[in-house]
């Protein structure tokens, strides 16, 4: 089965790896700036899709189907993001006689609507966060919206029906802020998803975000997995995920997993998916939404169960029976964490920091997995999500996993661009994180308390060391630069090349 990966970056590399392990040929697609990207070089075949803008390349259904035809592709893996939860794409694949590695277009459409998914959960007998069951009509009067909000109670959240990743989402603390929040959520959702409809949900005070990975085959078997804890969020975006959760007992795990399986069964789910829940302080949990694709954070589940979710996605898509022992899927061995490494500068409010990666040495060693998507020499483009790698640590216990993650973050070298690595090193040192005393609002509160200190702060000894290193580098450069006609050129890009040339002449 020849598989086209309709994606880029680390997830394309991840899927290509699984295909190679299964002995399956792979087809990569790329935009102009991705010609030398890692996923292109690791695939068996590579086809140009179009210009850099995602709408004209990785979101261009026609162009992708054209590559599928020309390459003799039999199945399409959408990864996450881009077209992964686009029902029209799944349908277009099916109509073109291609196997879409994911659920059916009908299920994607149903669960892709947040209000539609809530209706499924209610049918499955699973509690949902109290909220409006239908999105507001664009012409809904201020009065009507105000009454609906009053019935739910404050604080509440305005959410985009087509939402995801915190876009089109606004927290409203009091009635006076409601209408402005609806306006901004609508405009953001319209711009991001082409669908401006929004609805309301009650905001739980300090919930945890708990999610259940599951797999479903074509014969109606649904297997839920041990939960993932994704409460470490910055502005509603997950930044660290782990499995299992410290706040989920084995008994609670059984109940949440059963609820997730019930939702999946109700909608006739196939392939890999994830059901997200909010867990309240009193142990009650509520269905939040379903992601009808492979998740960014799937590796933590793989690390604690020893099962390969991408292998299973492919095997299910080609009609195999799911024969995983359900007990194994629900029984974590040890503990796993994942940090999403972004080309962003945490000292500049997490501003994207695209640019040329001059050198890269990912962490490795016991318990460490690096799901990387880039190499040295690659220029992180400005057109797409800036995640460059996911660093996953496994340990026999949570403290061991944290210790390994901290060690790996110190080892990880990315030169030329700023990354979120120093931020994660800081996070791993926070007592509340180490104690597991956090909820989805914790990180934002902690960040608000910071007074502009750098995540790259050096102590006096390290500052002295950096000074010494820079002086020696300058000295070496001055020596190497003796034949150079331009005086006072200072240190430049060619420092080491020049030193190396001199070395070779000795």
């Amino acid at each position: 089965m020849k598989i086209l990966i309709a994606n880029r970056g680390e997830i394309a590399v991840r899927v290509i790896r699984a295909c190679r392990e299964l002995g399956l040929p792979t087809v990569a697609v790329y935009s102009d700036c991705d010609r030398t990207a890692r996923h292109v070089r690791e695939a068996h075949e590579a086809f140009h899709l179009g210009p850099n803008e995602a709408a004209r390349s990785y979101l261009n259904i026609e162009a992708i189907l054209d590559v599928a035809r020309r390459s003799g592709t039999e199945a399409v893996h959408p990864g996450y993001g881009f077209l992964a939860e686009n029902a029209a794409f799944a349908r277009a694949c099916r109509d073109a006689g291609l196997t879409f590695i994911g659920p059916s277009p009908e299920v994607i459409a149903t669960m892709g609507s947040k209000t539609g998914a809530r209706a499924v959960a209610i049918r499955a007998g699973v509690p949902v966060v109290p909220g409006t069951e239908q999105p507001f009509e664009p012409a809904a009067s201020d009065d009507e919206i105000g009454r609906a909000a009053g019935a739910i109670g404050y604080p509440l959240v305005v959410k985009a029906v087509a939402g995801g990743g915190g876009k089109g989402m606004r927290v409203v603390e009091e009635p006076g802020d409601l209408l402005a929040a609806i306006r901004t959520a609508r405009s953001e959702a319209g711009a991001a998803f082409g669908d401006a409809s929004v609805y309301l949900e009650r905001r739980l005070i300090r919930p945890r975000h708990i999610e259940i990975q599951l797999l479903g085959d074509r014969f109606g078997t649904i297997v839920p997995f041990v939960e993932r804890e994704c409460s470490i969020q910055r502005r509603h975006q997950k930044v660290v995920e782990e499995s299992p959760s410290m706040s989920v007992s084995p008994a609670l795990r059984q109940r949440i997993a059963a609820a997730a399986a019930s939702v999946a069964r109700t909608v006739g789910y196939t392939n890999a998916g994830t059901i997200e829940f909010l867990l309240d302080e009193d142990g009650s949990f509520y269905f939040l939404e379903m992601n009808t694709r492979l998740q960014v954070e799937h590796p933590v589940t793989e690390m604690v169960t020893g099962l390969d979710l991408v292998h299973w996605q492919i095997r299910i898509a080609r009609g195999e029976r799911l024969d995983i022992d359900p007990v194994r899927a629900l029984t974590p061995l040890g503990h796993a964490l994942e940090c999403r490494i972004y080309a962003e500068d945490p000292d500049q409010g997490f501003m994207p920091a695209p640019g040329l990666i001059r050198a890269l040495r990912p962490a490795s060693g016991p318990g460490i997995r690096d799901d990387g998507g880039v190499d040295a020499g690659f220029e992180v483009p400005v057109y797409y999500d800036s995640m460059i790698a996911k660093l996953i640590a496994w340990g026999g216990s949570r403290p061991e996993a944290i210790a390994r993650m901290s060690r790996a973050l110190e080892e990880y070298q990315v030169l030329g661009i700023r990354t979120t690595i120093p931020f994660f090193a800081w996070l791993m040192r926070q007592p509340a994180y180490r104690d597991g005393q956090y909820d989805t609002t914790w990180l934002d509160r902690l960040m608000a308390e910071r007074r502009g200190e750098s995540f790259n702060e050096l102590d006096a000894a390290d500052t002295r060391l950096v000074t010494i290193a820079a002086a020696i580098a300058a000295c070496l450069n001055a020596r190497a630069a003796v034949p150079a006609p331009v005086a006072g050129d200072g240190l430049s890009e060619s420092l080491w090349q020049r030193a190396a040339r001199l070395e070779a002449l000795r």
Binding site: L415, V466, T467, I468, S492
Partner: protein, 170 residues
């Protein structure tokens, strides 16, 4: 050889005396350090600092975004270093020769979503002034210093190129 070295904003005068091959005596803050230094890979520098019980440390020294700037990394942290007092971080501190004035510039191509300040407003250092959408994310650009907003050069909806001046703080 003597260098003025600026590590993340703090400047020191440092003297380096090369000794035997790969050996240096480095004087920082009046204190002499015996250092063995070897290059390790394209950007790596392996130091064994003789006077601190042979402390072994690996650093990476890579060119920064602007000419004359180096990015030095150790243990997962990276700091900008400037040798012999060249301007740090181009763009953001380019004040056109008028002291005390700093511009907030677009770090990459994008679109202005919101302007959070108006001319005459008082701003604190690191206070958000403009929100620019780029790389599919909304990014809040912050004031490099406390002061007064002298000029707002863009409006919501403006498409900006990297380096474009957005707001001037005085």
């Amino acid at each position: 050889m003597t260098f003025e070295i600026d590590v993340d904003g703090s400047v020191r005068s440092v003297t380096v005396e090369p000794g035997a091959p790969s050996r240096f005596v480095v004087v920082v803050d009046g204190e002499a350090h015996e250092v063995q230094a070897e290059r390790a890979g394209e950007f790596g520098l392996s130091l064994v600092v003789g006077d601190v019980s042979n402390a072994s440390r690996e650093l990476q020294v890579a060119p920064g975004a602007t000419r004359g700037e180096l990015l030095v990394s150790l243990g997962g942290r990276t700091v900008p270093v400037v040798v012999n007092g060249r301007t740090r971080r181009g763009g953001a501190t380019d004040d056109g020769g008028r002291a005390g004035q700093q511009a907030v510039v677009a770090p990459m191509p994008g679109r202005v979503v919101r302007v959070l300040v108006a001319p005459g407003d008082t701003v604190a250092a690191r206070q958000g002034v403009v929100v620019v959408e780029a790389m599919k994310m909304e990014n809040e650009l912050r004031s490099p210093k406390s002061g007064t907003v002298k000029e707002v050069a863009v409006a919501p909806g403006t498409s900006v190129e990297a380096g474009r001046v957005l707001v001037v703080i005085e």
